[in-house]
Structures are given as C-alpha cells and as structure tokens.
Symmetry: C2
Subunit: 205 residues, 2 copies
C-alpha cells in the first residue's frame, strides 16, 4: 500500500474507534453526562485525535442519532410489511448488545440539545416505516384506506415506549416479544387477515 | 380549631409543598440530577422538614411515580373505551403544565433506581387501561377476541413514545393530537366500526 493509502486507512480506523467509544459513553452517561475527554480516553486517542474527526460532542451525537437506520440491517431480504417487521425486530434483538443502538435509545430525549431543528430520530424512523408500509399498500398487502403516516408514527412511538419499559422491567430482555406484540395488535388495523397472510416474526408461528 | 388539628393541617400543607417541589426538581433535573437539598430549597423548608415526611429522595420519587394515575382525573364521567380515551387525553393535555406529570414522564427511564422490583409506571398504567378496555368488552363495545392485555400495554408504550417525541419536536404542544392519532389507528383493531360508535376525542368530530 502507498503511504497515503495507509494513512487514510488508519484515519478511518481512528474515526470508527472514536464513534464506537462515543456510543459507549453516551449509552452510559447520556448526552449531558458525556465529555469529549471521556470519549477520547475510551477510544485510546488524544483529544486532538477526536477533534480531527469531529468538531464537537454535538457532532458526535448527531452522527450516531442520524445513522441509526443504517446500523439496523435485517439479514432477511424482505419487502413491504415483512420488511417493516424485520427492521423493528432486528433493532429490538440487537439493542442490548449494540452500543450504537443503545446510544441512540439513550439520546432520544436529549436530541433537542444537538439535532438541527426539524430533524430527529423519530422522523427518520417514521420515514423508514412509512416507505415499507407504502410498498405494502402498493402490492395489495395492506388495505389502501390505511393512514400510512399515522400508523408509521404510531409504530415508532410504540417501539420507543416498549424500549423504555422493557429496559426498566427486564434490561431489554423481552423487547423482541414486546415488538412482536405491537405488530400483532396492529394486523387488524392494517387490514391483514387473521392468518396474517404468511407474515413472520409476530409471535404466531 | 384545636391546636393539634392546626398542627396537623400545617404538616399536610408542608408535605404537599415538598411533593410539589420534588416534582419540579425531578422534572427539571431527573432523578440523578436532583438532591434533597435542592428540593428543600425549592419548597422553602429545612432539610429536617423534608425528612420528617419522606425518608429519602427515593421515597419522594416513588410517591410521585406511584401516584401518577391519581393525578390524572378526566372531568368527563365516562366509562369503558371512552374512559380509556379520556384518561390518555387528559394526561396528554395536562402534561406540559403539571409538574407531577412532567416529573412522572422524566423519571420513566430511571425508575429502576427507586421503584421496588416488579412495580413501575408502565404496569400501573397498563392495569388502568386494561380495566377500562375490559369494561368495554363486557358491554359489547369492543369485540371479545381482542387481547386486552396486549392492547393495553401497547397503548401505554405508544403514549410513552409519543410523549418523548412530542417533547423533542414541539415541547409537548402536539401531544393531544398524537394521542388521538394512536386511538384512531387502533379503532379497527378493537373492532369498533368506521363511525366509531360515537367515540369522542379521537380527532374525528
């Protein structure tokens, strides 16, 4: 490898290490309890090393919150309604072990401190859910009179609440079950029949 | 009034003032950011005055979280499904102005620090919702095959998430609207017809 390429690869590794450390520190301490110094220590880099990649604690928190949907990639190659279900189940199943997702969950209510006005995790996830549900309407899976925007927003709200309560009650152990329950409750609202048209992952298999 | 009665009335006023001050301090600082000293200062009583009524910061937080359903009393004398809707709407409408409810919302994710194992706001509210929904099933308003426990838990989850997101997006200004939306989405899941059988307060009047 040419020196410039080596240097670039090293810079990318450092950036990733800083992000990872920031996620851990935010997950443990929240936004106000975290400091760039703590993050640098955790990543094993100098303060200058952090600031080379991120201008501030705010920018770090922003990168983590804005990146949430990219951190949740279901292994299934599903579409439409099944994709929406798989995404929420993947998120629920990985939350306890994945610092990026735990940080995202922990930062939810402090977002006004660092996200630009009109941008937040709630809207991001609502958009993701609404796209999948719209695909489900287009393919005839979900009945056309369903208010996709409202249902998408409600799913995101219910998952957020389930996350908080599951954390308090079981340290996130029953979160997948809680998410499956949400989908089960919603099937009639989506006009999906009792047999669920082959939908998987809602605790009825 | 006899002196003993005067004394008792004064003690009750102090206790109420301490609760109110604690709610304000918890709402602003969360559980870990609050101290008994801050609460005493806010209430205008001595530290000893606080400890006469509450043994610890934990006991204060417990009293506020455990009392949440008592702080939400809809003015309507409704029953069943309408009662469940009225309760969530009253909570949503009063949250921004009521320190007791704001403290309850703020303390949700720190509950494991002070609530006894197996007791938390989520379960309290799920019980309240399930009772009203069960009454709705008994009166034939809601179809009998609905899984009341699951729907009740989901409503509480969705309201918790709506509270958090509405806070970030509008400082709780659109919370009533978000709660109405949740109920609107759920009507088909409850087997309530499109005309909503005269149900009020879900944004369809």
């Amino acid at each position: 490898m040419a020196p410039r390429v080596v240097k670039q690869a090293r810079a990318e590794r450092t950036r990733a290490a800083v992000m990872q450390a920031a996620a851990e520190v935010f997950a443990e301490n929240g936004f106000s309890g975290a400091s760039v110094m703590k993050i640098a220590d955790r990543a094993g880099v100098t303060l200058g090393g952090v600031y080379f990649h991120f201008r501030s604690k705010e920018e770090l928190a922003r990168a983590i919150v804005a990146g949430q949907p990219d951190f949740v990639v279901p292994t299934e190659t599903s579409r439409g309604l099944q994709r929406a279900i798989d995404t929420t189940r993947t998120w629920a199943g990985q939350l306890a072990e994945n610092p990026m997702l735990r940080a995202g969950a922990r930062l939810v209510w402090e977002q006004d401190r660092f996200m630009p006005a009109g941008e937040n995790s709630h809207q991001q996830w609502t958009t993701v859910m609404a796209e999948d549900l719209q695909a489900a309407v287009d393919s005839g899976e979900v009945k056309p009179e369903v208010d996709i925007e409202s249902i998408a927003r409600m799913i995101v709200n219910a998952c957020t609440g389930a996350q908080m309560h599951s954390y308090v009650e079981t340290g996130h152990e029953d979160l997948v079950e809680r998410v499956e329950e949400i989908w089960r409750c919603l099937m009639p609202a989506l006009g999906v029949s009792d047999q669920c048209n082959g939908v998987k992952g809602i605790g009825r298999e």
